[in-house]
Symmetry: C2
Subunit: 127 residues, 2 copies
C-alpha cells in the first residue's frame, strides 16, 4: 500500500493507492521518473459517516468507506508503448468493466499531465 487519501468536491471519495514492487521501490529510493513496469492502482469508495461508531463514541467523528465509487484506476508505466501519454497507460474499470470511451480515458492523461515534475503521479508516499 502506497497511501490513503480523501477527495472532497465533485469527486467526494476516500481512497487507497496501491503499488507493485517496482512502484514501492521507486518511492523508497525516490526514483523519478518511475521505471517501466511500475503499476499504481487507485481504489476508491464513497465517504460516509458511521452513525454506528458515532453512537458508541458519543460524538460525531467517524467516517468510513461505503460502496466502490469513481471506478478502479490503474497507471502502468511503459515508455515504449505509451510515449504519447507521458509513458503511462491509463486504465479504468467501472463496475468491473473496462472503460472504453476514448475521450474519458484521454481525460485521465489530461489531468495527470499537469504534474510533469512528479512523472504525472499525484500520490506522494510516506515510505
Amino acid at each position: 500500500m502506497v497511501s490513503v487519501a480523501r477527495e472532497e468536491g465533485t469527486i467526494d471519495d476516500i481512497r487507497a493507492i496501491l503499488g507493485n514492487d517496482i512502484t514501492i521501490g521507486a518511492y523508497r529510493e525516490k526514483t523519478l521518473p518511475f521505471p517501466d513496469g511500475a503499476i499504481i492502482a487507485r481504489l476508491s469508495w464513497t465517504y460516509e459517516a458511521s452513525e454506528e461508531n458515532n453512537e458508541i463514541f458519543g460524538q460525531t467523528q467517524s467516517h468510513i468507506e461505503g460502496p466502490p465509487k469513481n471506478g478502479l484506476h490503474f497507471m502502468s508505466k511503459d515508455s515504449k508503448k505509451y510515449a504519447s501519454t507521458g509513458d503511462w497507460e491509463f486504465v479504468q474499470f467501472d463496475d468491473g468493466q473496462p472503460l472504453t470511451d476514448a475521450a474519458k480515458i484521454s481525460a485521465c492523461f489530461t489531468c495527470h499531465a499537469l504534474l510533469p515534475q512528479r512523472d504525472l503521479v499525484f500520490t506522494r508516499c510516506a515510505l
Copy 2:
C-alpha cells in the same frame, strides 16, 4: 486490505485497516466471532490538506496522509490466551516501540468492549 476510514475529533487521523487471510476470510463469509488466528492491523496517519493538489485542481478538495499518528495497532485473536480481554490481544507500537503501559493497553479493550455484537471489531468491510 480491509478498509479505509477517517476519524475526526481528538483522534483526527486517516487510516487503513489490514487483515491476514483468516481475517479476510471471516469478513467474506460474515463469520462472527472471528476465528483464532485472525489478526487485524490499523495504520493511521495525520490528515492533511494537500496544497499542492488543490493548486492543480483549482479548488480545495484534496486531503492526504501525513506522518504516522496514533500508533500502529494490532488485534490478534486467541480465545485460549486472551479470554479475559474478549479473546483478543491488543498491541500498540508508538514510533516503532511496543506500548508497555498496562493502563493504556487496557484502554484499548475498554473501548472495543463496547461492541460485543461485532466481536469487538469496529471496522466493517465491503468485501
